[in-house]
Symmetry: C2
Subunit: 428 residues, 2 copies
């Protein structure tokens, strides 16, 4: 019924967030006798692991993002709402949005997280992180504009600044971004300019900890570091960003003038804990039990990056796509068990799907259980695995065409600076 | 030399605008002993005839746009500047930009035109026209958001308004847009919504003149009109938009509530005539002679949509890509003749390359000399011709893959609403 929020005869499941975890719940409940409402602030589901490719002009946004509606179009028990949740009324079991309240029987919060600026949120303006499609195109715009400005500058120091790119955070996103930026500068842009030489681009990767890829086995960290150093990335370990401005960053005593700063460090959860009025961990994540529910809340599941959960060995679960997807599947199972009057499933147990990160176009690092894989073959495994996970066939075909093309041609096709025109009228 | 604008020993050719005509001049002078500076406000050259496909979510921006630098990267006599020209100093022969003046020996103005609002420029905010990549993604955003809002509205009249799309201008862009919007609503979105039925979308095409495609032979106009009516487009002839607001348009006595208004009418030239302090025609185009120069100006060529030129029969040349490209080639020839001390080439003569417009996914109209072609076969000719003209092989492959895919699947892959996030920091 148009705009109706009246209770139906079937249990109402509201899922907030259509990332990996939220979408996974919805898909797994496709045939369940429930009414699902899937709410997201964006109309599309981005494949986050490849956002760095959009940010570095290798892929177009639409290659790695799908309209949420089209992903659930065939499940008639699901409707999609574009909009922002502003709060939860736990007492009356309602989800609060700007223009409506929505009653629900089961609530799934999968609202994700963004990078964290360690209390310096003002840095976000100077150092965007690739979390959404708009973030990624903004980073692309800044990177490409920096080269354009360097080309036009008559000041050697300013050119040097503009050609310095600082990436903060030695996590997979930071490592992958560093490799891709080098490739963009050294290959795709190599002969495009007359005044500057993109080969002179200074790519710095800053990590506060003692090694890159801290969640990977140590040999893989060393491999990634060496591979990045080999292509010229200035890897800085045990150095923390102490200040960030429009013209660069400060690392303790060292001031680094930079044209582009890209942030891939820290973590700041969505306000889900605040909405639920429950305790959050130090980055604001909702602490959930092995049933993925906050203690004492029967009808609320919190999953994905906005949840803090321990695995069976007592170690925190990492914020990666396989964890999110498996949590989604678990929640769908729990909801169906309850509908069927069956006992709840046993505690959530993460089945390790491995850790992957690519380093430029030559190598990747893969940790799977005790096995470790590096080099050329790992790169192809990474490429094939990511192509496989790209949901739709169309995108898989196009992404693979683009990759093969740019692998052999060193071209990067999506080098567009867009969004420079002021929007004539706000439609918000 | 870094940032140097000092005169070199070779004649300096400055080309303002890297659309079809400006780019054509630069490419044809690739081997000429001149120093070329190609200036554009964007970093990319869009393939304008397919912008409507971006606006209707069929193609991604990068599928039909190329970094200008990469298009001329192999010609070492050419440098590219990203920036806006603000004036021409005709006396001292300098091009004026915000941050520099640039001396030149030969000036080519190819700055294009936009749609015209007949003195009501305020309508532009309510009715964007697809002239740039940013325009096209803005239209895409508005179209897709209108469906999202309709889905969420509980007011039947508001839903009807949001599902009404008015396209103004029976030119090829308007006709093609109408066909593509119908396809988007009736096919790609058909089963994506739960409250609204996209089949109910009301697509109106408004043309002030007595027929669509006025520049085409009359039978083709009739064919296009019938084809559009057959798929449900509400074609309004001899009706003019008398007012335009955020909620719709007025056609004389009739008020049409609309969620999206797309403008494809009128013409407003760039300020080239103002810069040169010469007479413009009624839409501001520089009136040029058969040598494509404004009377009395030896070293200035004006071409493409910003020029008003007559063909040998005394008829105004149309503002289409083949005219622009041939004018570019002519100017390159004229410059080379002068360098070689040869006589100027004979007056510019347009070689008719035909007129093409596609109407939805079933038919197209083609006029080539006295021959006329319509229907299924014309559609394929149109598709192949456009794929052929897409400059790079990469894009040709991807566009053809996307087209074939969406032709057989009715999918439209690029349905992203982007740019909703306020940019944290202006970089302009």
């Amino acid at each position: 019924m148009p705009g109706s929020d009246v209770a139906g005869p079937r249990p109402r499941v509201v899922i907030v967030g259509a990332g990996f975890s939220g979408l996974s719940v919805a898909k797994r409940l496709a045939k369940a006798p429930v009414d699902i409402t899937l709410i997201d602030r964006e109309n599309h589901h981005p494949f986050q692991p490849l956002l760095y490719q959009v940010a570095t002009a290798g892929l177009s946004p639409a290659d790695i993002a799908w309209p949420i509606r089209s992903l659930v179009r065939d499940q008639r028990n699901t409707r999609v709402l574009l909009g922002a949740v502003t709060g939860i009324d736990s007492v009356r079991k309602r989800v609060v949005m700007a223009d409506r309240n929505m009653a629900c029987d089961v609530l799934v919060l999968a609202t994700g997280a963004t990078h964290g600026y360690f209390g310096n949120d003002i840095w976000a303006a100077h150092a965007p992180g690739p979390k959404t499609i708009d973030d990624a195109t903004e980073i692309r715009r800044r990177l490409l504009l920096a080269f354009e400005r360097a080309e036009m500058s008559s000041d050697a120091r300013e050119r040097e600044r503009l050609l310095t790119i600082v990436i903060v955070g030695g996590v997979p996103t930071g490592v992958e971004m560093a490799g891709a930026v080098v490739e963009l500068a050294r290959k795709a842009l190599a002969t495009d300019f007359r005044t500057i030489d993109p080969q002179q681009t200074h790519v710095m990767l800053v990590e506060a900890g003692p090694r890159l890829l801290a969640s990977f086995p140590e040999p893989l960290s060393r491999h990634a570091e060496q591979a990045l150093r080999r292509v010229g990335v200035d890897v800085r370990l045990q150095q923390a960003v102490t200040h960030c401005s429009a013209t660069g960053v400060t690392l303790g005593d060292e001031s680094v003038a930079a044209g582009t700063v890209i942030w891939a460090a820290g973590l700041a959860a969505s306000p889900a804990a605040y909405w639920l009025a429950v305790a959050g961990d130090h980055v604001g994540r909702v602490v959930v039990g092995p049933d993925l529910r906050p203690p004492g809340m029967d009808d609320v599941f919190v999953i994905g990056d906005t949840a803090f959960a321990l695995d069976v060995a007592g170690k925190p679960l990492p914020g990666i796509a396989p964890v999110a997807k498996q949590q989604g599947a678990y929640v769908a199972e729990a909801i169906q068990a309850r509908l069927a009057g069956k006992p709840a499933p046993p505690p959530f147990r993460y089945r390790d799907r491995g850790l992957l990160a690519t380093v430029g176009r030559k190598t990747a690092v893969i940790a799977f259980g005790r096995r470790q894989l590096t080099g050329w073959f790992a790169w192809w495994v990474w490429g094939i695995a990511h192509s496989y996970f790209l949901i739709s066939l169309r995108n898989r075909l196009i992404v693979m065409t683009q990759w093969l093309w740019s692998y052999f041609s060193f071209e990067r096709g999506a080098r567009l600076i867009t969004g420079m025109v002021t929007r004539p009228e706000s439609l918000e």
